[in-house]
């Protein structure tokens, strides 16, 4: 039986074969028994080499894989945001009502995910603000003062890019999705309420039945299916515009481009992703 040295060893494991070849230990007249003995002797060495070689192979595979796929485009992540045009809001409160219905928010006026504030700026004196039942039932008659101007300001979670609520959550139950939405994992929240304290916008509440923190999700269950948030969907004047900051064709880009824009409590460096167009400095 004649054996070429390249035939010794396992296929796909060139190292032992190479080593054996260089030693020249294989006699052409080797019988089957000698061959197995040789294999037994070479076993520890080949296993060691295999073990040493495997991680290198894996590492190579890891580094080479993306290079191979580089041609295929990565799925582009959205960066969801909302713009609210104060000049367009008529204070009908449909957004707040739709939110309650869509997200099964408790009926009480003290638990809301979004609400509408009315600002009455008198010619003299302090600005008056109210939001009875989040604006769902409309607003009472204007107070009898000499009014300079009035306007409405819808409020919701600002889905900050630098969210203090996420920073303080002791268990990581409140988190940022990769598309920039701040959510609460209600199966994980311990109900310590530190996030409610940390939110500068009063956007969070403790759900009275679930005993976990709750807040606006941008209707995440809807937007991930390509639908609009409920509040945006029902707004009769398009005061609320929802979109993707990473998409040039998103309708929010137009609002941000053609209007003076501000965000709430910018000095706190929370970097909100709810933008206010044509807003008054009284809004806070």
């Amino acid at each position: 039986m004649s054996l070429d040295h390249e035939d010794v060893g396992c296929p796909g494991d060139p190292a032992p074969a190479d080593a054996a070849g260089r030693e020249g230990a294989i006699a052409p007249e080797m019988d089957r028994r000698q061959f197995f003995d040789l294999c037994k002797q070479a076993l520890p060495a080949s296993l060691t080499l295999l073990a040493a070689g495997l991680p290198i192979k894996l590492a190579n595979a890891e580094t080479s894989a993306p290079a191979a796929n580089a041609a295929a485009p990565e799925p582009r992540l959205a960066s969801y945001a909302m713009a609210i045009d104060i000049e367009k809001c008529i204070g009908c409160g449909r957004c707040a009502a739709a939110c309650k219905a869509e997200n099964k928010v408790p009926d009480s006026p003290h638990y809301v995910r979004t609400w509408v504030e009315r600002y009455v700026v008198p010619k003299e004196g302090e600005t008056m603000v109210d939001s009875p039942n989040a604006g769902i039932d409309g607003f009472p008659d204007l107070p009898a003062v000499d009014t300079l101007k009035t306007f409405f300001a819808p409020k919701l979670c600002n889905h900050c890019a630098n969210p203090p609520c996420v920073q303080v959550c002791p268990v990581g139950a409140t988190f940022q999705t990769r598309d920039g939405v701040v959510l609460v994992d209600e199966d994980y929240c311990v109900g310590c309420r530190y996030c409610i304290q940390a939110c500068p916008y009063g956007a969070r509440y403790l759900h009275p039945e679930k005993q976990v923190a709750d807040k606006c999700t941008f209707c995440y269950h809807r937007i991930t299916k390509g639908l609009l948030p409920a509040c945006v969907e029902v707004c009769p004047t398009q005061a609320r515009v929802f979109g993707d900051l990473n998409s040039r064709s998103s309708p929010i880009q137009r609002v941000l481009r053609f209007n003076p824009i501000m965000s709430l409590k910018a000095e706190l460096n929370t970097r909100p992703k709810v933008f206010y167009a044509n807003a008054d400095q009284e809004i806070r």
Binding site: P170, V171, Y188, Q197, G202
Partner: protein, 399 residues
């Protein structure tokens, strides 16, 4: 009740701000951890800084710290919406959260510092009691020796050295424990009443004041109950330290107040309304006047005035009581006060203490009494009394 509360609200508050999130239990929590830190720092004054005159209260301070420490996490736990998930803070802590560090700071302080120090300090006695006591208690003491029954000269020397090292480690730990509690509040940038770099320091010094005053109270009451004379040198020294800590605490809080007033940021209007309309009694009367100025005058008079001992004891007792009221009010003013104005800075809310329920007055009072019960058991189990012994040398001959 809702309508009644609505009428008392002034200005505008965000809809979600109607209910306070942190109530009486969260007032209790910094108060109790403050007592732990203060009592421990008092014990370390004797142990590390060699203030030998405080020896009669050394063990009392340690046991008090331990009793309060055992109770410290209970208000937090009872306050959680899902207490059954509380272990997640240990298992999957969120590293950017100050609150997630609580478990680790607490575990370190309780297990590594307090329990070890008490054990090393009492080890010789525990071994003796495990041999001399009759009945089931004997087995408990045997268990408490943890198998270390060697009370030779060399072993006791080691105990003493270990105790000292642990106390030295304990001082920064006590600072960490309570400074951290202040940080929980001081780091909330959304809340102008809390957000202050001085908060951890103020919490720390108020902790020292309240803890020392609490040990003072416990020492006097236990002495009276046991019909034993009070060591006046010790009490005077204790009063002196309380006075110094109180002065620093008062100065820091005054600085904080002055700083806010002078900077007069956007929030100044609502915060001044908060003080005058909501916190006048608890802040101006209870915290500043009754809990700060009056005790200061009392301590100066009792410590440095020419008064009979009976009078001194009376003043010290009243002062220590007033300080407790003052520091509890301080915790109240921080925790509840910080939630009584809207983050819109346009209105004030109302908080009414409930009587029943987990956040209620009765439960809170129960939690306040629990450390007293634990302390009683600890005193029975590990008597801290040194009657008849003039100093550390006598009960621990190796020293």
């Amino acid at each position: 009740m809702e309508n009644g509360m609505l009428e008392q609200f002034t200005g505008f508050i965000y809809p979600n701000e109607y209910f306070l999130q942190w109530e009486l239990l969260i007032v209790l929590y910094p108060y109790i951890t403050g007592l732990v830190a203060g009592a421990f720092i008092l014990a370390s004054l004797e142990r590390v800084f060699q203030v030998k005159v405080l020896w009669p209260v050394y063990r009392l301070a340690l046991l008090s710290a331990l009793a309060f420490m055992i109770v410290a996490p209970l208000p937090l736990l009872s306050h959680l919406g899902h207490p059954e998930r509380s272990l997640e803070m240990f298992l999957t802590p969120h590293t950017t959260s100050a609150m997630a560090m609580f478990g680790f700071v607490y575990a370190w302080y309780l297990a590594v510092i307090l329990l070890l120090e008490v054990w090393f300090d009492y080890r010789r006695e525990i071994v003796v009691w495990s041999q001399e006591t009759k009945g089931p208690l004997r087995y408990l003491y045997k268990l408490l020796t943890l198998g270390a029954t060697d009370i030779s000269e060399a072993a006791l020397k080691f105990d003493d050295r270990a105790g000292r090292v642990i106390t030295i480690l304990g001082i920064p730990s006590a600072f960490l424990l309570h400074g951290y509690v202040g940080f929980i509040f001081g780091s909330v940038k959304a809340n102008p009443w809390w957000s202050s770099v001085l908060m951890p320091v103020v919490f720390l010094f108020s902790a020292i004041v309240s803890g020392m005053a609490m040990v003072m109270l416990i020492y006097m009451v236990t002495s009276w109950v046991r019909w034993k004379p009070i060591d006046m040198a010790c009490l005077n020294k204790l009063g002196e330290f309380v006075l110094y800590a109180l002065i620093v605490d008062f100065a820091l809080e005054f600085l904080d107040f002055l700083h806010r007033l002078y900077e007069a940021e956007e929030s100044i209007h609502i915060l001044s309304q908060l003080i005058t309309d909501r916190l006048f009694i608890s802040l101006v009367v209870l915290q500043v006047l009754m809990g700060g100025l009056v005790p200061m005058i009392g301590l100066v008079a009792a410590r440095f005035g020419r008064l009979p001992d009976e009078m001194r004891r009376m003043i010290y007792f009243l002062v220590a009581l007033l300080i407790q009221v003052g520091i509890f009010s301080m915790r109240w003013n921080v925790v509840v006060g910080g939630q009584m104005f809207s983050k819109s800075l346009r209105g004030l809310t109302v908080y009414k203490v409930h009587l029943f329920g987990l956040e209620g007055l009765f439960f809170t009072m129960g939690l306040l009494l629990l450390p007293v019960v634990i302390l009683y058991v600890l005193m029975k189990l590990l008597p801290p009394w040194i009657d008849g012994h003039a100093g550390r040398e006598l009960p621990a001959p190796s020293h």
